[in-house]
Symmetry: D3
Subunit: 188 residues, 6 copies
Amino acid sequence: MPIVELHVLEGYGTDEKRRLHTALTDAVRLIVPASPDAITVMIHEMKAANYSRDGKQRKGAPALGDAGEIVRAFLKTMEAREIEAAEAFLAEDFAMFFPGAQPMHELEALIKWATQRYRFVKKAYLGFDVMQSSGPEVLVYCRGTLSGEWLDGTPFENIRFIDRFELVEGKISRQDVWNDIAEVKAGL
Amino acid sequence: MPIVELHVLEGYGTDEKRRLHTALTDAVRLIVPASPDAITVMIHEMKAANYSRDGKQRKGAPALGDAGEIVRAFLKTMEAREIEAAEAFLAEDFAMFFPGAQPMHELEALIKWATQRYRFVKKAYLGFDVMQSSGPEVLVYCRGTLSGEWLDGTPFENIRFIDRFELVEGKISRQDVWNDIAEVKAGL
Amino acid sequence: MPIVELHVLEGYGTDEKRRLHTALTDAVRLIVPASPDAITVMIHEMKAANYSRDGKQRKGAPALGDAGEIVRAFLKTMEAREIEAAEAFLAEDFAMFFPGAQPMHELEALIKWATQRYRFVKKAYLGFDVMQSSGPEVLVYCRGTLSGEWLDGTPFENIRFIDRFELVEGKISRQDVWNDIAEVKAGL
Amino acid sequence: MPIVELHVLEGYGTDEKRRLHTALTDAVRLIVPASPDAITVMIHEMKAANYSRDGKQRKGAPALGDAGEIVRAFLKTMEAREIEAAEAFLAEDFAMFFPGAQPMHELEALIKWATQRYRFVKKAYLGFDVMQSSGPEVLVYCRGTLSGEWLDGTPFENIRFIDRFELVEGKISRQDVWNDIAEVKAGL
Amino acid sequence: MPIVELHVLEGYGTDEKRRLHTALTDAVRLIVPASPDAITVMIHEMKAANYSRDGKQRKGAPALGDAGEIVRAFLKTMEAREIEAAEAFLAEDFAMFFPGAQPMHELEALIKWATQRYRFVKKAYLGFDVMQSSGPEVLVYCRGTLSGEWLDGTPFENIRFIDRFELVEGKISRQDVWNDIAEVKAGL
Amino acid sequence: MPIVELHVLEGYGTDEKRRLHTALTDAVRLIVPASPDAITVMIHEMKAANYSRDGKQRKGAPALGDAGEIVRAFLKTMEAREIEAAEAFLAEDFAMFFPGAQPMHELEALIKWATQRYRFVKKAYLGFDVMQSSGPEVLVYCRGTLSGEWLDGTPFENIRFIDRFELVEGKISRQDVWNDIAEVKAGL
């Protein structure tokens, strides 16, 4: 039965509202064992003139982008080695943590490091999980399998991976990567 | 400014409400760039007699447990090798996916498999991330570092790991594990 | 999807709330083609101190009785010829309109009149329909079949009837009766 | 003091809202002894994008027609013997129950039957009572007096009648008729 | 944390809403010791068709003017001795109460009386305080200092004054004046 | 028709709620020309566990005292020359502004100054006007007439006065006084 009402300043589009509907529904489902069909969300949009804090009329702010889509777009530029485009997704203090590598802060460093591991790699996605952390970071988990070619040209595939991203204000500030590459190599 | 109102049948405790406050606040923050301090949540509890669907008065259901706490408790029993206690956390169709191992369905199988990899292992946690998926599963991501002893008795530590759990109705139905053990071993 | 919220001063019991849930649900269904299961009603009870008009805190009034139950009880006393008990259900200006009879204002007059028509009569009910009119009257329609004995002792049964009652402030102020007695007699 | 708030998907016209105001006001009055002037109804219209169940944005459905008006229009076509037009008001499983007649399912059958009773008949209406039943049926009670000519050409008038209609999804599925025709004839 | 929701018929402009935001915020602050920044006001505008009392759809009325602005404009016309313009601000039963004067009902009488006190006077305002009384009157307090010339041409300044105005339906019905003119004169 | 809903943490008594009802009603009346009888206020009390900002459950604070009552009590102690009791009502930075006197900060200074003006003085009150300013100050206007004895023992009465008080957090921080004493003396 839970009914959620959200009062928010107007200015959000249908897709942004869809994300609000989903996020609020899922928030309730995390605690209340109601069937999703019994969870109603109503968004009440307020004109700026109709809302005040401290007696002062307020304006809304544009919605944050869909962090899952941002990460997906970033990974696509990386796979295509479009470094400049990829860098546009990154926060100032970006850091990457890959298996067996020192922390890296530059995409160029990552690419250089990767050249010692495989000729190329592609990701097939099994799923993206997106959530707001209790801090400023939005978290995106992305998992699936890797395929590509080792340095000697032999192909590989079906190697499990998971990436964890932190985004702040729509920019990627951290990427942690885990995968079974070493496990697979050890078995070769 | 966003204000969230949740109408829900009465019967939830202060801690369960705290989880609702947090989850609803974070749901809004995922899309609306408001400072957390400006996000208000009001929970309106309904007596059963005051709520109806189809004209019929309704009763509420007990809250779902905190999935993060459930996973934490499960991992504690596993670390202590309290297999019976650990099994109580598992769903009927439980499955585990470990690096370099076939899918396993029994904790005994896992323990047997592990005996070929290390004498023992302990987890130090860096963080738990909990979210409701769009399906019935609640997801728990748990990450940190492993320490322990290899089969030859030499110690290891600071090996990164991440676990992904799926819970359905409070029971763990799936565990996916990634870590740098092979990476580290390859470097020995 | 319709959601109805009723704000009302506290003091109503579970059964009175059930009647409110039903009446509000049905009110919506009269216009909105939603499945009943998708119609939610929430009753918000207000303490007297929390509600004001003209800045003055207000008190609630006891609920009106269930008009269908009142009529049913009245008809029971009539069938048992408990005239005094029956009269307690009537408003000052009570009037009855029976087929082929002048308007009557006294139950004694009705009983006298009936003695020229049948020895006794019993009602089997097919249904009660209760609604608030746009005026002060609550309307109760009661229909079913009559059985009994004619003046000559021959029995009759399955004669259709319908009664229409008007109640004001819980008292019956008018009863209109239609039935097939003359039709049946004409066919004898 | 009762205040009713209805949240409903947008798309209803002023007249449909008027019906909602009336129906909700009367629903409250059936139980709460408030003066009608103290009953407030607020309709909150929701854009489709702002409402969800199960996280899915929803669309509204057109309002049901005014059952009283439908019955009134049906009776007008019947009085004018516009059988084809009248049939358009009927549900598939339509049934009629007239005094002294077998159940009928076709308007032609009714007209044929009536030719044995009177040359013609007209209805003068005293009132229509419309309500939603607890089932799918909307009920319309229509009462007044009949006038016309008997088969021998002598006129009659002021004969009481009451009709009870059941409508499902705007179509008339059942008509029950009671009147004093036999009573009056018996008195001729 | 207090959150105020105002449901009101649509038709008010941004500035009128601003006055509502301020008045409602200040009303709460009079009793609840919340920081103004934590007081939220939401104005929900209702279309006429969406609001009813007694089941009847209602229309709104134009907002009352800002009483502070009305008094300010009145005082400006008085200072400029635009008597006709000033009289347009007055209610039928207007009355003035000045120090050392009989009650006056005509601006001309005031002006005549003033000619025996000073050549001219100007007001410098320190502040306007506006409030709704519990009766029909809106109260405006206006205070500051007077400057001008005595009858002998010597200038004066910095003489404290306070005016209290009562307005009914936007018209000034009463003005009470206090000042230190006599005090200052006594000290000359 | 305006309907005001106030959501506030629980903990206020009936009298404090009465003040909220009155203040909110009057706030609306300042702008909306509705008859007071058509203005409804509903106070929704929230349990601390049911309300959050930034996801954190919050507690309420005790209501502010009635500033009109505070000023009335202060004036009573002053009239009785209970200086110690009177001082308990004052803020640290208290200042008084009397006609023909320098600003004073100590009640003793006021009393000493008054001994040069009259033997004693009593206030008869015509009315108290209380309002929240847009700043932290609550304003209390108190007006009426003075009676007492001049220094030579002759009595006086019916001298108009008005006091303006500012209170911050329940303490009087400023008192401005105007009256016709000098005007009256000049006429002696």
